[in-house]
Amino acid sequence: MKSNSLLNIALVGNPNTGKTSLFNQLTGLNQKVGNYPGITVDKKQGKCKISEHLTAEITDLPGTYSINPTTLDETIVLETLLNEKNDSFPDIVIVVAEVENLKRNLFLFSQIKDLQFPAILVINMSDQMVRKGISIDIDALKKELKSEIVLISARKNIGIDDLRKVIENYKKWNTEPVANISDKIDSVFFEAIETAFPEFSLYKSWLLITQQKNCNFLSNELQRKITEFNKDNEKIKKYQHKETVYRYQIINEILKKTYKVDKNEATDLRSKLDRILTHRLFGYIIFFGILLLIFQSIFAWASYPMDLIDGFFANLSELAKTNLPKGTFTDLIAEGVIPGVGGVVIFLPQIAILFMFIATLEETGYMSRVVFLMDKIMRKFGMSGKSIIPLISGTACAIPAIMASRNISDWKERLITILVTPFITCSARLPIYTILIALIIPDKHILGIFNLQGLTLMGLYLLGFAAAISSAILLHYVLKIKTQSLFVIEMPNYKLPSFKNVFYEVVEKTKAFILGAGKIILALSIVLWFLASNGPSKFENAEEFVTAQESTNNISEKVLNKKIASYRLEHSYIGNMGKIIEPVIKPMGYDWKIGIALISSFAAREVFIGALATIYNVESEGEDVGTIKERMASEVNPKTGGKRFDFATGMSLLLFYALAMQCIGTLAIVKRETKSWKWPILQLTGMSALAYIVSIITYNILS
């Protein structure tokens, strides 16, 4: 329900201040994730009851150190606060600060104040003041900042009710600015600005002038007016610098009067942990240990819920088939929609577990140390230390992984990360790997401990990683994008992760996956179902033809039905497509049946096995891997008389799936994140060409 009586609150603050904790405390499970128009950055909103008569809609804006953005995420903050036409334009702003870094937090607060929003300063982690020897004269600080201030401890749920009470009276808040930038920098220049934009606060006009390229919501006339002021780039930069210096001057003066720290700082824990976690040897050992733990859990733990989900959707499909009246609609539901939804839901356990780890590592402050450790190495490949998070996430699914690249501020580093992430072995490749490896690699041990099949699987993971790294190096040299390094990361204090925050983060990420990728996978599954269940005349007459052909043979109805299904698929649109591409895929060692499976799996790789199951007319319902494996093993290659899935064809297929861009969801996300078709098309052609060539070479060497 969207109504005007709702109070719009924007929640802003530096990263690591506990902003998200406060958001979760205020809104509970009353949250939704939406999209900002035109861009894909998730918009986290939630309802919160302030008092009997007042309900607020709180928007949790991405963490930022300043209103001047350096990353895509931070641009959102700028736009939300400057564009009064956006849905979330705030009536009031809550600025979350942290007791220990108050100085830097006040920098952002002073900017918000100067925009003349009714703003409140919320100082979080106040429960740690005593331990850290910090004392704040709140009343004096209130006076100096001309603002309301509330002390809270979001994780311990202290002060939240006080905050609600203060918000209730938001109409009485002081909206005077705290910094008078005009006098201190260039009063003539700023007075001219004030005259030119009487409708805005001075600071808003100044932001529009300095951030014009980040404000795409302005009218043409306004754009023109702004351009008159920002022609001299050097001057703007100089004034921004002066502004920053001036703001810190004011803040330092205010804090001198109101903020005291007993110098017996308890920073021991930080330096001790840092020494171990960023150690030149132990640092890497610990990091790789954690990686191993993550992978282990993705495979071991996630397989149980995944099997359950798989079984559930197979049963559901069967249920729909037997209980709904026969017809096209039922077929659509049972063979298109339900497996389509199942194909999306099956990935949730792995994605949830992965993001549970990533959220935990970020919460503790450890992730910044990983970025610190890996930055130099990743830069050799044209990426940033921050690329580690997308690359790890890619082992579950490339889609949330690519979205995680947003906080890389350097465009070239971000682009390369986006382009190479799909090489990382995602969970959709696993079912294909598992079945093909079982077919062509003997279940033997070498050296007593290493299982040959396990080693092959590991080899494929390493191959994906190597492909990502080598294409990154290639792109690093080929892409001529000039950027200036904006790499600055905060090394936050270590803290214990909050279960609540991790939980909400996991919910949010999985939701984003379902809404982003799920829709596309589902839609394409339906299209493929249509192509597989319709066809030209031969398809229409399948039943009569097969029945006539088999009339002399004494076969059961069940076998007959399977033969009809198989004949149908062969003559469906998709079957025809498989035959058309046969000449192209022949050099890779495939026939038109595998071709059908290749086309079918373009939406989502794991469809490959299901498609083969239908073609080889075995039961495709349920987790009947044993059956499909046996059937594939007994399939004969008519030319050679040997096995269809021999070592050469199997390896060729494995390598094809390791390298090819068989995922339309990823392409769609890349298009949205790079705002251009150029990059997904490059990705598709580049990866497919590589996969094609490698598969041909492999097949010809091995056969």
Partner: protein, 76 residues
């Protein structure tokens, strides 16, 4: 030749003198890395880059090419 943050040894402290505005990202200034401020080198990443510094109450990691642009005087 003056010193820059890149010349600090671990544990050493310097006072920021000046820097070329063009070469320094605005967000670094906004996080408190400004002339007159004390900067302490806490740690160097294993491959000599990035640097882990404390400046104006903030703990930050910056790349060496940024560090080289920030002139300092060492405190003894």
């Amino acid at each position: 030749m003056g010193d820059t943050i890149a010349n600090l040894l671990i544990g050493e402290i310097g006072i920021i003198q000046d820097f070329c505005l063009e070469a320094i990202p605005l967000n670094l200034l906004e996080m408190g890395c400004l002339p007159g401020k004390e900067v302490r080198l806490l740690q160097i990443a294993p491959l000599k880059d990035p640097l882990y510094i404390k400046v104006n109450g903030s703990h930050l990691a910056i790349r060496i090419e940024t560090a080289k642009q920030i002139n300092i005087t060492k405190l003894l």
